[in-house]
């Protein structure tokens, strides 16, 4: 069962309350999203670590219910 954009945002915000989160449903099918997450929590972390932090927030859904999430992570300038 695919996920809704707000579900993804809620899961990420629960772990990163200060984050700027932008989610786009790329194909309107609830299965292919792009997601930009910007938070100071990423400071000092490599990109792989930053992405893993987001995947952890999604609680194992990445690669399962959540098939395609094009993720970008940023640290606030």
């Amino acid at each position: 069962m695919a996920m809704q954009a707000h579900e993804i945002e809620d899961l990420i915000r629960a772990v990163f309350p200060d984050a700027q989160i932008k989610i786009e449903d790329l194909r309107g099918d609830g299965d292919h999203y792009s997601c930009l997450v910007e938070t100071a929590s990423f400071a000092g972390k490599t990109r792989v670590q930053q992405h893993k932090m987001v995947y952890d927030a999604l609680g194992g859904r990445m690669g399962n219910e959540l098939h395609a999430l094009a993720l970008q992570t940023r640290i606030p300038q």
Binding site: R47, V48, G63, N64
Partner: protein, 118 residues
């Protein structure tokens, strides 16, 4: 869970070749858009790599996710180090970091000319 035998097979793969891409399908016939995107980036940079088709081996397909603690395929390894999946490789390519990283790892890079539409 990652059994010892699968772990050793993965370690042998990533130690045996400088650039290894665990992917769905083969470099000639990628069977997933994300895998195809990484193959495209590596080919465009003229980087020699070995494709490991996880669709042919369920234990590798699941084992690699535990090995790197990364939930998806494709996964790129350079000199035994996990570099990232499709999103990260694409972003590194766009920022030039991928080429820089390959150079610092002593990997031959021969960017192919982009054939402009005539």
């Amino acid at each position: 869970m990652l059994d010892t035998q699968t772990k050793e097979r993965i370690q042998t793969e990533i130690a045996g070749t400088d650039v290894v891409l665990f992917m769905k399908g083969t470099p000639v016939f990628p069977q997933c858009g994300f895998s195809a995107a990484v193959v495209g980036v590596l080919s465009h940079l003229g980087i020699k790599f070995r494709g490991v088709n996880v669709l042919e081996d369920e234990s590798i397909r699941n084992g690699i996710k535990h090995f790197s603690d990364w939930p998806t395929i494709p996964q790129l390894y350079v000199k035994g180090e996990f570099i990232g999946g499709c999103d990260i490789i694409r972003e590194m390519y766009e920022t030039g970091e991928l080429m820089e990283m390959m150079n610092t790892h002593g990997i031959d890079v021969k960017p192919q000319p982009v054939n402009e539409p005539s």
